[in-house]
Symmetry: C2
Subunit: 177 residues, 2 copies
């Protein structure tokens, strides 16, 4: 039998373990639904929607104005965020990015401000240097309403990254301080 | 003495506790410097730059085009993020938001994309319903290069929020799924 002191330390440990396992603290209904629908993985790469991605850390934002008008946010999991903060390149295995995109719409409460509207898609990059050795170590996944886009679309991911940002470990995003 | 099994559970507990205490995993140099400089708190409200804010969860992004051209990101700590995911209003005490702003500049790697440039300021809202009972329970802090803006600027925070978003607990931002 453990002593009362050991029992108390055990309790603290178990509470801390539980708290750790429960992080991130809140997963939204729409994310759960998306993850469920996304049990179907992306063609070519076999990337699924990672549970809890909406709670990841912000890496940067962006705005696309060429063939669409979208605000975007690029999130990174703990591994990706840490690598960015410590200027680690290439990104280590286990690094994951999520690109959220929304149509840019006028704010209903502040004239001159634009805010997220409909979210047309969500995309992921997953680093696994062995599994994805032929594409810079990155697997790609694009999901529309929680369902993976087709093989033709996924065939365009790597060539575009390879042409433009090969020297940044195939990642467009720079950290926004 | 604890048994070997208890020792192992203890070790797991201590490891989990350590991991919990080390989150968020990485605090950048510029954030540390800002937090240090921000030991000086905001006038009127006494809000300081919260350590680790750059690792908080993304609530939404926005774009200002009236008297500036800025991309923004609104981050929330665990309390604020959870409240948004569970549609809890008003926000509970302890909720904190950070608004990061960057000048919008052309992407060097993708034509038609705009990315964060210089970051002119960072702002915070801190919920403490007793301490800030005369301003909806919210304290405000605006920091430029890590130093709090003047009293005149801080005098404009609450009236603007009060005029436009009083019915959303004085918070402009809506959650972007």
């Amino acid at each position: 039998m453990a002593s009362p002191v050991h029992r108390r330390i055990l309790l603290i440990g178990v509470a801390a373990l539980t708290a750790t396992l429960l992080l991130p603290v809140a997963i939204g209904a729409e994310e759960k639904a998306a993850a469920k629908a996304g049990a179907a993985a992306s063609p070519i790469f076999g990337v699924s929607i990672p549970e809890g991605y909406r709670g990841w850390h912000l890496i940067a934002v962006s705005h696309r104005t060429d063939n669409k008008d979208e605000l975007r946010a690029i999130l990174g999991n703990d591994v990706a965020f840490k690598a960015f903060r410590e200027n680690t390149l290439p990104f280590p295995d286990g690094a994951m990015f999520a690109k959220l995109a929304w149509q840019r719409v006028a704010s209903p409460t502040f004239k001159g401000a634009w805010v997220p509207g409909v979210a047309p898609r969500v995309e992921f990059m997953v680093k696994d240097s062995r599994k994805y050795s032929s594409t810079g170590g990155w697997g790609f996944g694009r999901f529309i309403n929680g369902k993976p886009a087709d093989e033709a679309q996924h065939g365009t991911c790597f060539p575009c990254h390879d042409a433009r940002v090969k020297n940044h470990d195939w990642v467009f995003t720079e950290f926004a301080p």
